[in-house]
């Protein structure tokens, strides 16, 4: 076990180095630099001289060749620093800390909602397997699964933010808070944020919901063929008890593992939806920093995304062995 962990951690570190090196090389090869893009915005009379430009390049370490600059980034990472954002003049860690809250609010609430809805749906489909109502549910879920989230987001916006404007069902077009948010009471603030969260959370949830309900169903179908289910039925356990207590508990392992694998995807999958809803989260931060060529922020976010992916993969694997004694680390 310890051997396995050490090996996995070492491989994980190497993978991280490889990923960050690839992304660093890519973003440094993008045309334009954070400095030229900023200068393009100010009017030409205020353009800085060539001398100042070179000095600024040196200040941000942009004059070094790519591999040296990457090693420099890696070195400061070892000291626990992610550097300072060039376009926002703030430490990257602070920027990410500011932006991660809104993203987590969306992803965690949609995750909870997904699981709360997917489990009953999956169990229902197993019980009613191949009946017309189950076929309807399955088809509906499958269609939802193929509906791109950005299309759904736009359709929902057309309906709730434009067509139903002025009615009780109106939902906000963008952002996380209304204009007069600061004046609201504590409860008012919370309700305001929740009101703004309805559409984004819906868009995050429906695709995952379709996937998870199918996942629960396919796992359950394997389990209900087992002998111990027949035994339970034979000794007279009611059908609800068989499904929930005997069968579902035995599908918890893949279920929990799946949870670990969905969370990182939810964070990095936020790029498009946060852009549509102008949600001040890390997905939008990533998008903006690509446009601004803000190297330190892009690298910080890439590191976070890939670190999360690797850590959750490892956790899922360990958890798998912890709950299932048949799995060994060889």
């Amino acid at each position: 076990m310890v051997n396995y962990l050490i090996r996995r951690l070492l491989i994980g570190c190497l993978t991280l180095v490889a990923i960050t090196a690839i992304i660093y090389a890519l973003i440094r090869s993008m045309p334009g630099s954070p400095l030229t893009l900023q200068m393009a915005e100010v009017d030409p009379s205020k353009a800085i001289s060539e001398q100042d430009f070179q000095q600024m390049r040196r200040m941000y370490g942009l004059h070094k060749p790519i591999h040296e600059a990457y090693l420099g980034w890696l070195g400061s990472l070892c000291r626990g620093e992610l550097g300072r954002s060039i376009s926002r003049k703030q430490p990257v860690t602070k920027l990410i800390a500011e932006r991660i809250g809104p993203t987590l609010a969306l992803s965690v609430s949609s995750l909870i909602l997904t699981y709360l809805l997917a489990v009953p749906m999956g169990l229902y489909s197993v019980v009613r397997s191949n009946r017309p109502e189950e076929r309807c549910l399955a088809t509906g879920l499958y269609m939802l699964y193929s509906l791109p989230s950005y299309v759904a987001a736009l359709l929902l916006l057309v309906l709730f933010a434009v067509r139903l404007r002025g009615t009780a069902f109106e939902l906000p077009l963008f952002g996380m808070v209304s204009d007069g948010h600061a004046q609201l009471s504590w409860w008012g603030k919370l309700a305001d944020i929740a009101w703004h969260m309805v559409l984004p959370v819906t868009c995050y949830t429906y695709g995952a919901l379709a996937f998870m309900a199918r996942f629960v169903k396919s796992n359950m179908e394997e389990v209900i063929r087992q002998d111990y289910i027949r035994t339970a039925r034979a000794k007279g356990v009611g059908s609800f008890g068989v499904i929930v207590v005997h069968a579902f508990r035995n599908t918890l392992i893949p279920f929990v593992t799946e949870l670990g694998l969905t969370l990182p995807g939810l964070l990095s999958g936020s790029v498009i939806l946060e852009q549509i809803f102008t949600w001040p989260g890390i997905g939008r931060l990533f998008f903006e920093s690509i446009a601004e060529r803000d190297y330190p922020t892009i690298m910080g976010l890439t590191l976070m995304f890939s670190l999360m992916t690797l850590v959750f993969q490892l956790l899922a694997d360990i958890l798998y062995a912890v709950v299932d004694p048949r799995v060994t680390f060889q």
Partner: protein, 374 residues
Amino acid sequence: MSNPTTPVIEDRTPPPGTRAGRSRGYAADVWYQFRRRRLSMAALTFVVGLTIVAILSPAIVGTKPVICRYRGQIYFPALGYFHDRWENAVFKTRDKFRGVYPKNLTTKDPQSWAVWPLVYQDPYRRVRANEWKDQPANPSGDQGVPSQYNLFGTNQAGIDVFAQMIHGTRVALLVGLFSTGISAIIGVVVGSLAGYFRGWVDVVLSRCIEVVMSIPALVLILALISIFEKTSIWHVMGVLGLTGWTGIARLTRGEFLRLREMDFVVGARAVGASGLRIMFSHILPNATAPILVPVSFGIASAILVESALSFLGFGPPPPNPSWGTVLNAGRSNLQMWWLIVFPGSAIFLTVLAYNLIGEGLQEATDPRLRNNEK
């Protein structure tokens, strides 16, 4: 009550449609299994239909004649929609048609005739008044509700949405096929090398697959796309191809690991076939059907991501008639619902179709799934 000792006689009659005494080949078997799924067949029909629309797009909607006779010569100006240079130079440079054919043809050569597309609209420019018989000018701004002249309405610049959608079919299908083609080539080569040679080759290649898989797809795609000064649709396809191969590689590797132990491979090796020959002419044909599963899902996701990129403004600059570009225009004009509903449904249906095909293939190739029929 039946006697419990009666032996159960297994039903060994071949399924209908097979010749008795001779079993189907593997590919034929997969096709047989696939055909039985009505939804998957409907999806396949849809994709075939879409392909026909894509090929015939200049004949369905356009402003250039499909065939015309001009000054004693036969021309096919509509081919210009496929490639700029295929539009005959006579019309572009010498006689200065400036893209407006109907009036120019009759005034410059009264003897000329032409076969026109079904709908006179253009995916790249606004049609002006009286260009075509007495068809009025396309409305612009937010006035372009769907009408008899603009079936799907027009966008802010007055360009017809129906024309953009029909010509966008070409972009969508091309993106799906081309980028997944690149992914398939990379994936199959990497996966078969890893699965066939095992050992350190496998270790190195599997590590590479893992590294690429651990980078969130959109992060890698956005970083790669931003490298290009001017993005064209070919850049997008290349990037999607370079990032989407990991699933195919993993599956190919698994299939090769399994198949390389089979008798026919041992036989081929005993006869003295070279490694390359065994890999690509003995094992690969047997692995093709399972590999088509991630390929089909890959096409769906490539179409999805291309539209997403165009939608986010990372795609080729307008006037590129991609479904995502139309959708992008709708994002800033939410009251123009036709800019969202039509391209949205097109993306949805196409992705759904490829997913259903993939699903059908999965069930047709996986013996565990096909044997427990209701």
